[in-house]
Structures are given as C-alpha cells and as structure tokens.
Symmetry: none
Subunit: 203 residues, 4 copies
DNA sequence: TATGAATGAGGTTTCATTCAT
DNA sequence: GATGAATGAAACCTCATTCAT
C-alpha cells in the first residue's frame, strides 16, 4: 500500500550502486564526489561507507558486474557455432543488449577503463580488453578468410573501429525509446557491414 | 612591433602548453594536477602561474587553438563546393589532419568536452558541437537527396556514428607510423561509406 | 534479591568487558574501535550499546575493577604491620598477583592512564596514582630510616624506578608459563633489592 | 637584529619534526592530530604536507633519527672492548645520553613501537629491538660467565627488566635539571647493579 | 538482546592557488 | 622567471553513537 521511502535489505545496496553508476557516468569517476552520490541517494557521505569500502570499490562492483554479464553473453555466442557475419551481428547485438542493462557501466568503462586498469585491483579490465581484441580479431579474420569481409581490411584498425563504434554509442544513447536492443543493433550492423553509401553504379 | 624579448617567453609558453596537453590527454583533466605538469616541465607548481592564470586557462588555450585550426580547415572544405560524398571524404581527411597536429587536444576534447562545456568560459565547445552537427547533418542530407547515401539512413543516428567514429581514433592513434593522415582517413572513409562486408552478389 | 534473569546478562557483560580489555591492551585505547571489540565478541558494533553507555565507560569499568582489587590487596598489606623490606616484598607480590588477574587492565593502565586521567570521569586514576606515590614513598622512607635500604637513595627517583619496573612487566607477561605470581615477584624483588651484580668482595 | 618569526630553509623541517615529536610524546601517536601539530607550529594542517608526506612519515623520521644516533653510540661502546660490568654501565650511560637528545623520540618509541612495528615501513623497529636483545643478552651472559653478575639470573627476564627500567625513565624525566646524563645514568646503574637494599648482615 | 542502517563530527590528505623573495 | 612556503577549500574516509525494528 505504502511505498517505502527506502527499500530495505539487499536491495538497498543495488540501489546505491545504480545511483553511483549514474553519477560516475554523468560526471566521470574523478569528478564524482562521494558526497554527490550520497546526496543523490538521500544520505550523508559517511553513510555510504556502511555499504561499501570505498569509492573505488563501488566502481569495481559496477564494472565487474557489467563485464561478467557481457562475457556470459559472448560465450553463448561463441558456442553457437555461427559463421563470421552472423557471429559479428550477434556480438554487436549482445553488446547492445548489455548496454541496455548496464548503460552507465558502459559509459564508465568507455571513459575510465584505461586509467583504472593501471591499478592492480582493476587488472581484470586489461584482461577483458585483451579477450575482446582476440574475439573480434578472430571473427574478422574468419570473415576475411571465407569471403564475408573485404579482403583488403587492415584487421587491427578495423578491430578498433568496430570496438569504438559499438561502445561509444552508450554515451549518447539516453533514451532507447521504443527500440529494442536488437533493432538498434541492426541499424549499427548495417552501417558497419554495408556502409552508409549507396553502391556505386560502376566500379 | 613586439619586443624580441617576448619571443623566447612565447616559446616557453607554447612548450608548457604542449606539456600540459600531453598530461591532460594521458591522465584526464581532473586527474591531472598542476604539479604533474610542472614536474614534467622541470619546474615547481607555483611557477606555472607566472605563465598561466589557472589550470582551466591551460585547457582553454589548448582546446581553442585546436578548434580554431579545425574550423579553418572545415571552412575551406565548405567553400570548395564539392558534392556530398567528396565533402564527406574531405571533412574526414581534414579531421585526421588536425588530429595529427593536435592529438592531445583531440583526446581532451573527446573526454572532457561535455563536462567543461557546462562552464561559461567553455561555451564555445557547445557552440562548436552544434556547428559540427549542422555541418555533418547538412552533408548527410545532401547525400541522401542526391542518391550518394542510402535513403533509409536515420540521419541523427548516422551523424553520431560518424562523429564518434572519427574522433575516437585519437585515443589510440599514438604513433601514426608511416601512414599519413590522408591514408588513415581513406581507410576510415572506405569503411564508413562502403562497409566492411563484401557486397552481396545479387541485391 | 536480583532476578535470576539478570545473571546470564551479567555474565555476558563480564565476557564483553574481558574482550574489550584484551583489545584495548593489544591495540591501545585510541586505536581500538568499538567495531573491533564487537567483531571479537561476535556481534555488531551497535549492539554493544545495549550493554554499555560508551567506549569510555568500558575502559572505566575495566580500570576501576582493577584498581579496586589492587587497593584491597594493598590495604591488607598495610594492615599487616610488617617491616619495610617485608612490606616492599609484599607490595610487589600483591602487584604481580593483581597483574595475573587483570593483565590487560594493567597494560591499559600503564599506557593510557596519563591521558585518561585528564578527564573528570577518570579522576580516580590520578587519585590512585597519588596514593601509590605516598604508599611507596612511605615504605622507602621507613626502610632508609631503619637501615633496610641504602641511606643515599634519592627517594623520588627510586619510587619511580620501582613503580615502572613493576608495572612495565605487564606488557610482556604474556603467558606466565608455570611460574606463579609469587615466583616472578621474588625474582623482581631480588633484582631490585639486591641488584643484579655480585657484591664486591670488600666494600 | 630582528628575530625571524619563522626559521627559513632546512631548519624549518627540523623545527617541525621537533614540534611533532613533542606532541606525539605528549598525547600519543594516535591521539595526535596533524591539526594539533600544525597549530603548535603556527600553520594550517594542510601546510604540513608541503614538508612531509604523511603523519606516519613524521613518526618515521623521528624514530629513525633516534635509532641511528643510538646505534652509533652503542657501536662505539661495543668496539671499546670493555668488561661486562663496564659495558653495562656504558650502555646505560649512552642510552641516557641519547635520551637527553631525543627525549620525545624515546617516549614515542616506548609507547608506540610495538604497534608501529607491525607495518612494513617500521620494520626497522623490530630489527632494532632484536639487536637490543642480542646486545644486552650477550653482555649479561658475559657478566655471569666472568662472575660480575649473579649466577642465578634468569637472563631473559633480567634483559627485559633492564631494558624497560632504562627506557621508561624517558616518560617522566621532564627536566633533567642540572644533572648530566652521566650522573643520572650512574644513579640508575647503581640501583640496578647493586640494588636498593643494604647488604644483609649475615647471609 | 541484537541487527541494520544511518548520523555527524572529525581525521588525514590533496590540490589549485598565492605571494614574498 | 622561478622558488619555497603557505593557504584554504574540499576530498575521501573513520568511527562513536543512535535508533527503529
């Protein structure tokens, strides 16, 4: 009947993490003060430390939760045994799916990963980064090999192009509106795979 | 006109700005302390204030120098009266050209513009952003109109796609190696315009 | 008289005090957090406040229980009407006896008394300190007067020497091993009274 | 002519260390706030960090300076090739000499060493402690061997007795008054070596 | 009796900035 | 031009304590 002002129990922690993630994404990790997070959560700065060890550990939980989900999805895709073009499409789609669940985390990842990865605690960011590279590179190579992708592609450059192209979307994808992750993914995939130009009449 | 005495001073100033830009790009604006900049320049933190009013004004100079050069280039492109596809290619090329000259500035722009633009002093960032949007949107629309670009494009989405796609490159473009800005630009243009997939045999 | 219900409560209280005393002794009063005490007692920090008013009141109870017992013993010794050397020996023995019962309290006393005594609530620490001084000084003076102690002793210096010599032992007296308080006391008394050197053959 | 309010240059650092040492000794390391030190030095808390990395590093410098001087003195004593009783007397004298120079450091050492030594940075405290033990133990053993010290001594207990007996003096030795370190040392040595009692008539 | 959650004061530290020299 | 020393605001974090449940 009554809407509780503050969700009790384990939910509170998740709520606070969501708040923190929003603020980190909006202002950047460094520019975010724990007071800002606390304000937004309706408590005092010190009170956050009942739930978390440190500001850093909040970022840690946010990022690792995202990466765990993401890699679960990627693993499923890898195990599906699809051809390169379909794998490509499915990886993009999965990325957008996770972006929908973890939007602020993706923004944080995009903006802060490089800096954070320098710390031992965030070692897994660098690891994940490397696994990314391998996964996409492998997919691109398979595609070139079987003729799905252009043979003249510079694979490392293309990899970065695709990677950034996908994640950068998180920054400005405020309202997904009515479009599902799959629809958005399709738009992206189409642009990346087939280009935005019409096919030249003669080539 | 200007007393020659000022020349060495001006040189030092440019040197310091370059140092500051490197550090800002590497560590992020917030995470950069004036002491770090000073250390790298071989002086004490306080001494920087002989040359600059504030940390903010360093970022200001760096960003506005970059944007001034960039818009000079874009203006030339606009005045060249090219078709949409050629304009597109030329804008990308010009962007990469400026990226080569102002790499750290581009990284800073990419990462901090949104936050900085909130301040009155950095108003011009928001202005520039808007002019960007208009310029690219106009180009894309012209291309759709004359059949150069696909008719089903979602112009706002495509604009963001192209914009991010280009600038994000600055983050990892450490050494250009032997490739010139034009070559890199061509690679990018080709990917964005024609896609990375081979064209289906029958369409 | 007392409702039996209170007995288990009282037992718990004593247990908690013992835990607190251990931690205070180990880490120091300031460095001890109520959370550490609570952890060691298997409860949450807040729960301690059901049993005690404050951290300070725990220290208070610990110290006053010790001093009460100690002065009971000293009083018995004083009333025994012994000679100075025997009184000396008996005071040291009694001190070690109480140290055996209240070891952590003695460590706390040793390390924190000076600071705590500044507060009104711990006034009794300063009082006890003064009674100490009087008791030992009187004993030493009696001994000098009747020839038991060397006539050239600097009484105030000797008093401090003896006092510290006895209490400081509490710090490292972890396990008493098989030795009783009396045995240890005897060793101490012997060292203090007769010195550690052999007596010169001719004097 | 004019007394400068604040000593400039390298002297300032030493001054601040002396101030910090006084406060640490008076209030204890934990109970001392950097604000208290700064107040006493006539500056703001943050200003201390221009001179020192942290509160901890102040304690570190204070303690290591003391121990360095102390061990220099002990080394000289060891190299003098004295007999056990003379070595004993000389070690005590050297200890009092350093106590006169580093009184607050000794108090800090006495009260905080155990706790601090747990940290890697203060490893040298534990090392020094161990060297202490060896040095005194060796001296006592030599004395027992050559008949200078009583044969029935429990060496480990005696070692602790002597050690504490000497250092604890630092706590209450406020004004040395007119007595030199040697004079005080002699009083101590006499008490410890020969005891405070007169020689029993018959034994 | 105890928990879970929060408060609020205060602690250490960082850092842009100032200024006399 | 640059240094050395300091300021002051604000950051992260700790902790004794409270209180509804």
């Amino acid at each position: 009947m009554v809407t509780p002002k503050k969700t009790p129990g384990a939910g509170r922690r998740a709520e606070l993490l969501a708040t923190a993630a929003d603020v980190f994404a909006e202002l950047g990790y460094n520019a975010t003060t724990v007071r800002t997070i606390a304000d937004r959560a309706g408590m005092l700065a010190g009170s956050l430390y009942y739930h978390f060890d440190s500001k850093e550990s909040m970022a840690d939980e946010i990022l690792s939760a995202f990466l765990t989900d993401l890699w679960d999805g990627y693993r499923r895709t890898e195990e599906a045994g699809l051809g390169p073009r379909e794998t490509f499409e499915e990886l993009v789609t999965e990325s957008f799916r996770q972006m929908a669940r973890h939007r602020p985390a993706v923004v944080i990842y995009q903006k802060e990963a490089r800096r954070l990865a320098a710390q031992e605690r965030f070692r897994y960011l660098a690891d994940s980064h490397e696994r990314f590279r391998e996964l996409w590179t492998r997919t691109l190579e398979r595609g070139v090999a079987d003729g799905s992708f252009r043979s003249e592609l510079d694979i490392p450059v293309t990899y970065r192009f695709v990677r950034d192209t996908v994640w950068v979307a998180a920054v400005w994808f405020r309202p997904w509106g009515s479009r599902t992750a799959s629809e958005i993914a399709q738009q992206y995939t189409s642009m990346v795979l087939d280009g935005i130009a019409t096919r030249p009449v003669a080539r």
